[in-house]
Symmetry: C2
Subunit: 373 residues, 2 copies
């Protein structure tokens, strides 16, 4: 099934799309999928479909210019501005959305400021703050795994100095939402000197009506930055392309902290092709839903609780020690998510292809029979 | 001739190398070279050969994993450590060497320090310093266009606070060397608190016996950082891969300022393939020499002085206004280098393919006949 999935979604599609060629077996023979040799990767919230066929084609066509410094940033910025109904001046490109997090922390959380984050949440913001004289304040999630905005607000408002609030919604690693109305209420009442970094990496997976983008704040509020990525529904995690959306004054402040030429040529051509490709996002969402159903069913069969997921991963209970669990899974060919303290009674599992989820379910059930989970 | 050059060096080579396929016209038809539509780019010191055939092949093979976060950083670091005879701990990857410049400036030039640079020199170091409370001190090149190390040392030693000295040798935009013995003498006598960032982006082009790498200082001196790139002889400017070499303590300080996952998957596979590909560097150097000879001959015919170049570009005199000159060239299909104040009586010309250099020479001679240069 893995091989079949590869044939459906792999290089073949890209080559076949290029000029009506019906097969290119020599390319396939030389293109082993890492996953066929190593463990199944259900660890990093990647898109198991691979990149879009149009993106593959664009990269192959773009190789002839790979020796040139990237030319397409302006076109990408215009395309993203059009997509989001903002001005090109509001868009800041990054080598993945992680660079947007870095730019924001380095530009807005200093000097001697505080970064307010949930616990647990995505680690990159605090990681970047670690290089600076910035205090990281961690506020535990509520019992429903939404951000505890009341506590975060209390911590943000206490004391003086620069404050940057990082809101990851849906939150990684829990997959849970913080209602957008609550975020809006805080932003509406916050002083101009309190900055918000809203990480919407998993935006496209959400179907819940309580959720919407914070982009609406961009025209009027220079203290709001939104981070988006091509790593998830577009499947471009390896190619590194993300972007920030912010008021033009703030966008310019962030840009001063970018790596020059940060959006590489192949990422730009693949990204443009992905934006234009009809149906790929829908296929990604569909595959994700199918995989999630298989996983949910398995977890319910085994009586293992899981958090409601609005993303391409699920945080679920395990029995026993997380380190042992991860090792047992790896021995059986499945890489599950890293530990996210303090949630060490849970494992974060990324949604792979349906067949991969079936293999996971079989493995988990076999471990249960052995009395190991 | 451009088309012929493309066929020799373009995608065809990559595809032909993949499985004994002798032609892939459908790929070529869909792969217009940007240069065929736009002006010849003799503006950005790119490698006109394109990326190595093995790198093209590696990227095409690597597309199947482009949806996965980059896996190959460790292998790349080991390969670079072996290449340079240092430990893996001494290598810091970057999205181009520009990110190494950024990490170094952000990690070592603060707080409230000074960055000492030549004038003119490559702009990225000062550009990154511009985001910080760092004073940029510019010291004019000597009359032989080497760095004025005496003046730089005087400026570096005056005053208190952190000092980072940026030495670009060969220097961009002049192409000229600063003798390595002179750099060594300064480093040997400098206090530990004075940092040196030695940019060796054009290292591979140098044949002068007065030149060697500053890597020799890495094992014993935590105050020396060397920057290298895959953008020049390896032709990977569009794919973004560079690295720093430094004492392990310093390397770890730099790493804290990196963008996470900064080396993208396609850059890593292309870089590994490029390191292994026999003959590509030699071809790059040979093409560069041939192009440079054509240019030198033309400039001598026209009585236009040029600086001795140890790189893949030449800084040469023009008559008249640089802005007008650049526009005239662009109207005739040739993009030359940007202005590098204060050298506004000179144009920086990158070495293209021999046919491109012949076209440049014809264009320049025609402009002379029209009395315009």
């Amino acid at each position: 099934m893995q091989r079949r999935a590869f044939l459906q979604t792999g290089l073949a599609a890209g080559v076949m799309g290029m000029g009506g060629v019906t097969a290119a077996p020599h390319l396939l023979k030389l293109s082993p999928r890492t996953g066929l040799k190593g463990p199944i990767r259900l660890s990093s919230n990647e898109n198991p479909l691979g990149i879009a066929p149009a993106a593959r084609r664009a990269i192959i066509e773009g190789l002839v210019d790979a020796n040139r410094y990237p030319q397409g940033s302006g076109r990408m910025i215009e395309a993203l501005a059009a997509k989001h109904g903002v001005k090109p001046e509001n868009i800041v490109l990054g080598a993945g959305s992680t660079e947007v997090l870095k730019m924001t922390v380095h530009a807005l959380a200093t000097p001697s400021g505080r970064l307010i984050v949930a616990e647990p949440t995505y680690e990159d913001g605090p990681w970047y703050a670690g290089a600076l004289p910035v205090e990281v304040v961690k506020v535990p999630l509520r019992s429903d795994y939404s951000h505890d905005l009341d506590q975060m607000q209390a911590r943000a408002s206490a004391g003086t100095g620069t404050v940057l609030v990082y809101l990851c919604s849906p939150n990684n690693p829990t997959g849970t939402l913080t209602p957008s109305a609550d975020i809006d209420a805080w932003i509406a009442s916050a002083p101009d000197t309190m900055y918000f970094l809203v990480d919407e990496a998993y935006f496209d997976y959400v179907e819940d009506p309580r959720y919407w983008s914070a982009i609406r704040w961009v025209p009027e509020r220079p203290n709001v930055v939104i981070a988006r990525t091509f790593s998830k529904v577009y499947g471009m995690a390896g190619i590194r392309l993300g972007y920030g959306i912010a008021h033009e004054e703030t966008a310019e402040r962030l840009r001063r902290f970018r790596v020059r030429n940060n959006a590489n040529h192949l990422a730009l051509v693949a990204g443009m092709a992905s934006l234009d490709e009809a149906g790929f996002v829908e296929r990604s969402l569909d595959v994700n839903q199918r995989g999630k159903r298989i996983l949910h069913e398995c977890l319910e069969d085994l009586g293992l609780d899981y958090l409601p997921s609005h993303t391409n991963f699920v945080m679920h209970r395990i029995t026993g020690d997380l380190k042992t669990y991860r090792e047992m899974m790896l021995e059986r060919g499945i890489r599950v998510g890293r530990p996210f303290p303090p949630m060490l009674t849970h494992s974060r599992l990324s949604i792979g292809l349906p067949a991969e989820m079936e293999q996971f379910a079989e493995t988990l059930k076999a471990l249960r029979k052995e009395g190991k989970v």
